[in-house]
Symmetry: C2
Subunit: 197 residues, 2 copies
């Protein structure tokens, strides 16, 4: 998506170690008008899919997921990273490893809110190693829900997550795929995606 690629080139900050900071418009401060344009692009890319729910994971995916769900007029369910004492019913549960935070999370979703009758669109802000997405796919599988597709804002094409997901035959639409980036010059190269606007 050219709008997002241009924004990443302008406001993204490349750091050593493959770190791309987009927290001025995606995951600390959230540019909601930009999210609306992203939601419309996903609506086009997933046209015809019988999506009745958006699934994401706390915390930074929630804002994008809410705007996407508003475009489809469906609810969002977000998987939680820790057991709350308010959650006294049965959950689907799995574990994911966070490379950023260097720890393993328990991730849960209530059995009441993810079921075999759901046709879900999974939304998240970043895809790198794919650990978070694999966790969400596991929760969907436990629930028997149908995964209609996955929408990612920024994929790191030089890390294995995207290839792992695509190898499973799931329609994955990353609005910007970073092929390479250079912390010294700040240059970012995106993978061409001819069917994207």
């Amino acid at each position: 998506m050219k709008l997002l690629e241009d924004r990443i080139r302008r406001d993204g900050i490349v750091r050593e170690g493959g770190v791309l900071k987009v927290d001025s418009f995606i995951n600390h401060q959230m540019d909601i008008p930009l999210f609306r344009e992203m939601a419309r692009e996903w609506k086009r890319l997933f046209a015809g899919k019988p999506i009745n729910k958006v699934l994401t994971i706390e915390a930074s995916g929630i804002g994008i997921a809410a705007i996407v769900a508003s475009e489809w007029n469906v609810p969002v369910v977000f998987a939680k990273k820790a057991m709350s004492i308010n959650l006294d019913y049965d959950n689907y549960e799995t574990q994911i490893q966070s490379f950023t935070h260097k720890k393993i999370y328990n991730v849960i979703v209530s059995k009441k809110f993810l079921t075999a009758s759901d046709h879900i669109l999974i939304i998240d802000d970043f895809l790198a190693n794919g650990c978070a997405l694999m966790g969400l796919l596991e929760l969907a599988k436990e629930a028997g829900a149908t995964v209609e597709g996955i929408g990612i804002a920024v994929e790191k094409g030089f890390q294995p997550g995207g290839e792992l997901i695509r190898a499973r035959g799931i329609q994955l639409e990353s609005l910007a795929i970073v092929e390479s980036m250079d912390a010294a010059t700040g240059e970012i190269v995106f993978r061409p995606q001819p069917h994207h606007h």
Copy 2:
């Protein structure tokens, strides 16, 4: 707001110890069309205020905040509950106590995204003791930002948070204020708010 009160009466679950579970439509599964109606009501209640940014705190406030920000066409900034190793710049920082989770959080917001030129609307899903809100007000004060108002989905009127905030002269609009609730019968009594729709 009658729409929200009716929904809480229908789908809210009252538990012993003053616990009200609204996780089927507010804070685990999020009813985005309902959030849009809530956002429109806040737009009416805060009409004329020069709001340029929505401030909330992760995680469950983010969804409502995103839909509210979409109504105003402004960005959201969400305060984070833990230091991420990706956050390498200067932050405003304070601490809040969570009664639900029985611990103290560090709460941070980047100095880049909350400044003296901001006129913010604070949005959160719940107000009980007011600890989270006090933390957000402290961050806004450190930044020198102007707090134009606070929008809360569900206030527990029998806990002190609402009174503490109103005593500071801030316009606080809680769309539903629970005066009392009965875990045995499930009955919920709301505070009348004549100027609300």
